[in-house]
Amino acid sequence: MTQFLQTCLDAASLGSIFALSALGIGLLFGILRLANVAHGEFISTAAYSLIVPFTSVAAASELFIGKWHWAAVIPTVCAIVVVLALATERFVFRPLRSASAPVLMMASFTVSYILQNTVLMVYGSQARGVNLWYGLTQQIQWQGLRIPLIQIVTIAVTAVLMVSLSLFLKYSRFGIEVRAAAEDFRMARYLGVKANRVIGIAFAISGVLAAAVALLYLPQSGTINYAWGSPLALYGFVAVVVGGMGSLPGAVLGGFSIGIAITMLQVYLPPELKPFRDAFAFGLVIVILVVRPNGLFPVKHVMKRV
């Protein structure tokens, strides 16, 4: 029983990470039909901004921004990723606004490639140990459960972020514009919604979500390398597909489902099949796309596009 509760907690915290990642990807997909492969590099950039560039490899890298008080770290890292996200929008995706979805995906592939190699150039290819917020890795003993503090923080922060994001989308003017644009961008523009602003906001939110993923996952993983963010984004993708592409509640549900599925596979898969966990997850993507193109949790509206 304790074992089971422990597993549930692991699943919920991993699911939180995936759900945040999926939200960042799903938001851009809903509005722009952009399957943003570079989301993983947004996450990596957030992590790397914490350590000093151009230093040699040490067991634990020297912290840069990461040294600061957490109340300064969080906004700074968010700002860095938001600027990066807005820059990619301005210089790559805006000139390609009328391009087809696969071309957009290819462009994001390119952005990902550029950013990953920039990280390689600045920080080198070796994995780097990062001791961020060491205190969070402590465990709380409770009713025989050993609960890492970071898991509680992850779940709580995710809940707060999701509630505030949904309030923002539900009630603010920008929220209404973003939702309308996600449903039918051209019509929204006919009504005077400014494309550049809505897309800018969406990229900014996506950047904040990427920063959140990085800051929440880093204390758990402890080391980063140049491709650190990729798997987190790839699982975000899986979640977006599972949840029905373009639906935000679907992306969140998808994220938690993947978190649960991965944790359960990790625990209950026979040892000789464990290495193939990811292959199962991505095989699932293909199956869902073919069998249930609207995802496992279809939302009523079907996206219309001109």
């Binding site: 003017r173 209404i176 514009e177 939702r179 309308a180 449903e183 039918d184 051209r186 019509m187 929204a188 523009r189 006919y190 009504l191 005077g192 919604v193 400014k194 494309a195 939302v299 009523k300 509206h301 219309k304």
Partner: protein, 244 residues
């Protein structure tokens, strides 16, 4: 001389290889109701979308009160007092009725204007008021058409472009739609440019009519001159009854 409210000069639009408009010229005076009729694929929707900035013109000019606007983004053209009610309504089905309307009002710099317009419209459209917090996707076809029109008015337009308002609606509902359009026109003095596939009903409501076929204007005339429908029919079907 007074400039026409809308003037289109030698407009060409193509989608890749397909030429949808091939040199369309027309003008709409301030306060007029002008109707464009034409068969499927004539280019009617393309024409309205091009005026509203939704598709790029390959060649030609669109002038609003004498100012060229071709090439501006749709959101910029909306700020110049043009509002489009597109074919098939295109309401935001996941947004509520009120949200659909509020969205139309965001371009006003004074939020008071938008609020006043919203209240005013709820009186004109009681059926929308009763369903204000419904997701718009649950409205009936007629209600959706009303919502699309109301939403267009929320932007405070001087020129409203309406693409096939009768599409998929029962005749009785179509009458209601046209009655509403007449009321709005009487209250706000807007200019209307309406697309329709069939001219039978429109002759009653329009001041002038253009027949569009194959991406070109085939005929232009005042509604009363064309009242018997024969000339329209010939232009519409593209053959000459006499010579047949």
């Amino acid at each position: 001389m007074r400039k026409p409210h809308l003037e289109v000069r030698d407009l060409h639009v193509s989608y890749g290889q397909i030429a949808a408009l091939r040199g369309v010229s027309l003008h709409v005076e301030r306060g007029e109701t002008v109707c464009i009729v034409g068969p499927n694929g004539a280019g009617k929707s393309t024409l309205l979308a091009a005026i509203a900035g939704g598709v790029a013109a390959g060649q030609g000019a669109v002038l609003l009160g004498g100012d060229p606007v071709a090439g501006l983004a749709p959101e910029a053209i909306a700020r110049r007092g043009v509002s489009l009610v597109p074919e098939g309504r295109q309401i935001f089905s996941t947004l509520t009725v009120t949200e659909n309307l509020r969205l139309g009002g965001f371009l006003h710099s004074n939020p008071g204007t938008a609020r006043w317009l919203l209240n005013d419209l709820m009186d004109v459209f009681p059926s929308l008021k009763a369903r204000a917090s419904y997701p718009a996707g649950r409205l009936s076809g007629g209600e959706q058409q009303m919502l699309a029109i109301a939403r267009a008015i929320m932007t405070g337009p001087e020129l409203i472009l309406i693409d096939e308002p009768s599409l998929g609606l029962a005749p009785k509902i179509v009458d209601q739609v046209y009655a509403i359009l007449a009321e709005i026109k009487a209250r706000r003095g807007v200019t209307l440019l309406i697309n329709e596939q069939s001219s039978t009903r429109i002759l009653k409501h329009a001041d002038r009519i253009y027949v569009l076929r194959g991406g070109q204007i085939q005929l232009e005339g005042r509604a009363e001159e064309l009242a018997d429908g024969e000339a329209i029919k010939r232009a519409y079907f593209g053959f000459d009854r006499e010579s047949a």
